[in-house]
């Protein structure tokens, strides 16, 4: 029997309800059911990190989470990063440091970088590269991304 399951969750600070099939990933639910298309699909098997979201305080690949597992969870996607006042300092730093080209990997990198800077406000280059190892970028060569995260870290510390 294939019936849809009712899921209650919180996404970007708002209570959200949706219906999904048990086999659907959280990524599919975000994009195809809820229309939150900021989260990107890359490899769909947990290697590339394009679909990274924050779930209950941890970053996860949303392609490796079932939509039904979001029941009762607190999720932040890229749509929840900027505020009404403007871009988040990490987003601003990615722009200023040219930390993106095609942009497909960027939402995942921003979510991962945000979790890193919340856990470790002043990470070394090594820690940044370790934390972002689960996010692949085929355009930038990573250096500009690392510089963007360092820049954001410094600006957030002095803010």
């Amino acid at each position: 029997m294939s019936s849809k399951t009712h899921v209650q969750t919180r996404i970007n600070g708002e209570d959200v309800e949706f219906l999904c099939e048990p086999r659907q990933s959280l990524l599919e639910c975000l994009r195809d059911v809820l229309g939150l298309t900021g989260t990107k699909e890359g490899c769909n098997d947990g290697n590339c990190g394009a679909c990274t979201v924050n779930m209950d305080g941890r970053i996860v690949d949303s392609c490796l989470v079932l939509g039904v597992e979001a029941e009762g969870a607190e999720i932040t996607t890229i749509e929840g990063v900027a505020s009404a006042d403007g871009l988040h300092p990490i987003q601003q730093a990615f722009l200023e440091n040219a930390g993106l080209q095609c942009g497909i990997c960027t939402p995942g990198f921003i979510i991962s970088s945000k979790a890193l800077l919340e856990a470790e406000p002043e990470p070394t280059e090594g820690r940044i590269r370790l934390w972002l190892a689960g996010n692949l970028c085929r355009c930038t060569g990573y250096d500009k991304i690392v510089r963007a995260v360092t820049d954001a870290s410094e600006k957030m510390a002095s803010a």
Partner: protein, 290 residues
């Protein structure tokens, strides 16, 4: 993905009942980082996913200086490596838990799941074998314990029967003057599958090996427990000569294949090198070093 149902089990009994009722096509879900890509990719067909990560017994992470560590099968890696007792007593488990996947994977993946996935290259299994860990299993016919070195029976195959669930792992408390290490070779810095992995634990007594256990990853159809290393090292001085001999034993015991990650010859060479390096670090740790 063809499965049609999802159940969140609240207790071990409920999970066992659901898994047994589902026959061979029901699958237990903890972190899902191996299960979901396999289900999606058609590696196996399943009609029921039983989510077991909400079960209290599968979330235990407790240490007792006498009994050792009880590690619930669904405890994700990030909780394992953030645990003060694991940090203080199980450096070999720290090695493995911090290098499985990236931060995203570590937020979900469990060592219990790594064991049940039973990949020959699994990063956590060699060190579990080296530490003498035991798998605590519940099933329709009751509970049983299996030594981790006997758990895997082939690539992606293990001793779990239909309806059986891995509940936790018991890992003995480290002896005085003991140390452990997991080391793997990958061509990248992070996020890769071991070409070869080596898990070791040693116990020293006045500069001699009192005991040693070593297991290899990615050089056979299952993680490979190399008992001969322990037999060769016991009672011998912990020095470059005995460690080099252990490297040769590990190299000789390995039965790798040639694939995209490395050739037979390359992997056997790595067994020697990684065994020496892992033993040296374990000896150093047994002496109180890093």
């Amino acid at each position: 993905m063809k499965w049609t149902d999802y159940e969140k089990a609240e207790s071990v009994e409920e999970a066992v009942r659901l898994l047994a009722a589902g026959g061979g096509s029901a699958r237990a879900l903890a972190g899902g980082t191996d299960l979901l890509p396999k289900a999606r990719g058609g590696v196996f067909e399943t009609n029921l996913i039983v989510d077991v990560k909400g079960i209290p017994e599968l979330n235990v992470l407790s240490y007792d200086a006498g009994k050792g560590l009880t590690l619930g099968a669904a405890v994700p890696c990030y909780k394992i490596y953030a645990d003060a007792d694991v940090k203080a007593n199980y450096p070999g488990i720290m090695d493995a838990a911090t290098l499985i996947g990236g931060i995203q994977i570590q937020g979900r993946a469990s060592i219990g799941g790594n064991l049940c996935n039973s990949g020959p290259s699994a990063d956590s299994i060699p060190v579990l074998i080296a530490l003498g860990a035991t798998a605590n299993i519940e099933g329709p016919d009751g509970s049983r314990q299996v030594a981790v070195e006997d758990f895997c029976t082939g690539p992606s195959k293990n001793v779990l029967k239909t309806g059986e669930l891995l509940v936790s792992l018991s890992i003995p408390a480290p002896a005085a003057n003991s140390g452990a290490r997991y080391l793997r070779f990958i061509p990248r810095n992070e996020m890769d599958i071991a070409v070869v992995g080596v898990g070791v634990s040693v116990e020293l007594d006045n500069g001699n090996f009192k005991s040693a256990r070593l297991a290899l990853a990615a050089v056979g159809p299952t993680p490979l427990f190399v008992k001969a290393v322990g037999a060769a090292l016991a009672g011998k001085p912990a020095n470059d000569e005995t460690i080099a001999a252990a490297g040769q034993i590990a190299k000789g015991a390995a039965t790798p294949i040639t694939d995209m990650r490395g050739t037979i010859e390359y992997r056997k060479h790595l067994c020697d090198v990684l065994t020496r390096r892992a033993l040296s670090t374990a000896v150093n740790r047994a002496k109180g070093g890093e």
